[in-house]
């Protein structure tokens, strides 16, 4: 993590090299266009929010970007390279790492082991090493994992089983694992869901620190306070399509956006 972070610590905002660019990104599920001709652009060093009512297609977008599902149409370019046909592990290799909306951890492993698995791509491994080395993990990998735990505030939880961690820490552990994979672009799917005010504040501060260390962030979140306070730019999805795009101030006063959210609210109220 450190190398990439240091090498890219140039002032942000200045460099606006395009990191991620989708073109007409579309995904159908049967007759439903869950993501419909979305053009998404994320520049290096940004924190971009992807918001929208339930079912708008945000997670589907993430699944497309991370290679978990294939687009029905459209392309995804990451650092200029077309990655729309790659499989998940190949996407990660290029530096695009995602987290999951539903807490997804290796529940029966410790915090440290979870993060060690995050280092997967950056570890030296071979059958010979597995057979003849006396150590399970090289000390430098353990040290790096502890560093990541420290950075995310989980140092004291290193030896706890993931399933025994409180919900908030579980969510953060998910982020720590993604960080261990050394992302250039980090996709966070509802990182502060189910957290109290205090916890969500800390996580959003963490997100900013991550960006300040050179990682670009694209995040999905329903907690508007968190989104407005953290993101520099926001993209609003509704029924799979881009509804609006702009600064937090622009988006939150956009009539179409308000209507979409109110409409969703009314639909909820009606059951």
């Amino acid at each position: 993590m450190e190398e990439r972070i240091r090498s890219q610590s140039e002032p942000r905002g200045v460099s606006s090299a395009l990191l991620l660019e989708t073109h007409g990104l579309t995904r159908h599920f049967g007759g439903l266009a869950a993501v419909n001709r979305v053009d998404l652009r994320v520049a290096e060093g940004e924190i971009v929010g992807l918001i929208g009512p339930n079912g708008a297609g945000k997670t589907t977008c993430f699944n497309l970007l991370s290679g978990f599902i294939r687009p029905t149409a459209g392309t995804i370019r990451f650092h200029g390279e077309d990655i729309s046909r790659l499989r998940p592990h190949q996407v990660v290799k290029r530096g695009l790492v995602r987290t999951f909306q539903l807490t997804t951890l290796f529940q029966e492993l410790t915090g440290l082991e979870n993060v060690l698995l995050g280092l997967h791509l950056h570890s030296r491994r071979s059958l010979g090493r597995a057979l003849f080395s006396r150590r399970r993990f090289p000390p430098d990998e353990v040290a790096r994992s502890r560093e990541v735990l420290e950075f995310t505030g989980l140092a004291s939880q290193a030896d706890q089983l993931a399933r025994n961690l409180p919900h908030g820490h579980q969510r953060v552990l998910g982020i720590a694992m993604a960080l261990a994979a050394r992302p250039r672009l980090l996709l966070l799917d509802e990182p502060v869901t189910g957290m109290n005010l205090d916890e969500s504040g800390r996580v959003m501060a963490l997100v900013k620190t991550i960006r300040d260390r050179g990682v670009t962030v694209l995040l999905v979140e329903h907690n508007m306070k968190a989104v407005m306070g953290t993101c520099e730019r926001i993209v609003v999805l509704n029924f799979g399509q881009t509804l609006a795009e702009g600064s937090p101030a622009e988006v939150s006063t956009n009539a179409k956006v308000i209507e979409a959210y109110l409409g969703a609210g009314l639909a909820h109220a009606r059951g």
Binding site: P88, H89, V92, F100, Q107, H120, R125, A130, F137
Partner: protein, 321 residues
Amino acid sequence: MRRLRVGVLIVLVLLMLLVPQLGGDYYVHVFALVFTNVILAASLRPSLTCGQLNIGHSAFMSVGAYASALLAKNLAVSFEVSMLCGALLAAVVGLVIGYPSLRLRGVYFAMVTVAFVEVIRLIAQLWVPLTRGMSGLSGIPKPNLLGVTLVTKASQYYLALFLMLLTLLILWKLESSRLGLIWKSIGMADNLAQSLGVNIANHKLLAFLLGCFFAGVAGAFYAHFIRFLFPPEFGFLMATNILVYNYVGGRGHFAGPIVGAAFLSLLSEPFRGSAYETIFFSIAMLLTILFLPGGLITLPGKLAELRGWKSASAHSPSPAA
């Protein structure tokens, strides 16, 4: 605790070394077969850990057994070579079946492996010129190891013991390495593993092929030990037994399949080959699911818990609401 475990292990190995001295040929025979079953059970574990339900392990044992037997019988190849060829062929066959079915999950993968057991059995049954089909393949030479024929049952027993210990050592080293952690992670949450850059297809394949290889080793030993191969022996029943060893022994620890295979094959020895064998294994599986879902290896912990609970309730007799 670690010292204690190492001590127990050493005593166990010493005892196993003494079986030919203490017991007669009967025990030598029984234990050599137990060792084969241990190899089979332990070699299925990596695949199971990855979350693949392989109900076809006996097919790979069959491939190893026939290949090694035919090489030794027809071409007078020595045991170490024929065994290695048998194991490698089992792995190659595993590659042919495993590669296309890797994307299948759970029940679908299980169905492919079940079907495969039948395919291999039918090939062994129908390829009469080579395998003698349902007459069975007889006249398989005793294991000829490095130019020395192992004539006595006792020497063959030591060969089985050696092969088992070597297999377990290799599998243990792999399981306790990063590779083992990756297998576990795939079994726990394969989408998360993928999202961290793990090529789950390759790792599942490796785990599967490793199992095929060692099943081939077990088969090769079996062929030169029993010296008679009969296609239906390696059928669905044996395949499920290997799976049952893992579940009854326990999935949570490396020792699980070892304990399961040893325990069940010793207990089922009186019924071996009879109709009661199936009933015995079914009951063992049922009892485990009902009373010891973590398998036999969780028994000591359970007992300690029970004792602690009893002594605690003895100290504080007031019933809590």
